[in-house]
Symmetry: C2
Subunit: 200 residues, 2 copies
Amino acid sequence: MEIRERIIEEATRQFLQYGIRNVTMDGIAEALGMSKRTVYEAFKDKSALVHQCIEILSQKHKCRNDEICSASQNVIETIFLYMQEGIKAMNAINPVFFRDMEKLYPKTWENLRKNNEKEGFNLSVELLQKGIKEGFFRSEINIPIVAKLFLEQMNLLADEKVFPRDEYNYTDVFQNLTINFMRGISTKNGIELIDTMLVK
Amino acid sequence: MEIRERIIEEATRQFLQYGIRNVTMDGIAEALGMSKRTVYEAFKDKSALVHQCIEILSQKHKCRNDEICSASQNVIETIFLYMQEGIKAMNAINPVFFRDMEKLYPKTWENLRKNNEKEGFNLSVELLQKGIKEGFFRSEINIPIVAKLFLEQMNLLADEKVFPRDEYNYTDVFQNLTINFMRGISTKNGIELIDTMLVK
């Protein structure tokens, strides 16, 4: 692996685990057994490193989404896989990371949020259309409204003020939200498939 | 009807229709064919009048909720009736009213919001428990999480930034949200009842 890649990998791991403020270029160099100079030659400062890590994370996230989409048999399975990925990711990320991003890099964070929202909306519309075609979702749902409602619920989920992690079990909230939401728009066949997958 | 009551009725009608800033004590007096002095004898200023109107509105709202609860045959019917009431109310209220309240009376607005949230949560928990007992809602749902999710969705609905009224048909959003949410937590019997009520 190239030096840049190794630094990005280690920095991302530390940022997600400890937040951004708590991580230093020194600490990253030390964890990798590199000199501080090597790290600074690859990235001129922490801000440049943070931006690169976010960029790579977004790319990986997109690739993973595509992988899930093509690996699953039907739309219900796709959403279950997304849910499992989401729960895993959110449980692995220290909420301090999100707070630091918002505070320290408000512009990057806002762009990321807007981008995710746009892509999330398009993906949701696609999944809803696919689900209707497959006979698992009811054809009478209003696709743009349902897609928007789903996205907004996902935002709620990530909002520490709405569901503080010390009060709510994140996995329970995520599952209650996603499963109930899916059942709500499903046909009889869809609900049967959901129930089968829940038993698994 | 007493003078105070007549003033409150007319003021409430004007506030909800035009917002608060756009309504004057003069205008209220004129609409009622009263002298300005009579209005000021009943309420020392517009702020006092606004607070009294909000108080009465809240009381009426609570009474109406109780009425609906006791008039309906089962929990699904109760929620349908709430939904119809909600749609009617929101379509009748000018969004400017909410914006004015938030801007001009932030403390009153915040108290009202907090109170509504607490009462809404308790009411939701009650309805969920009742629905499970009646066999219409699935017994495995996590009641506090589902109640909280429902309330938060209702807040989204009222948020002009999330669902701007010039872009979204309020009735469609409300119906998609409530019907899908109810179906999502329902048993087979519950879903059948919802479908029957939708045909009506």
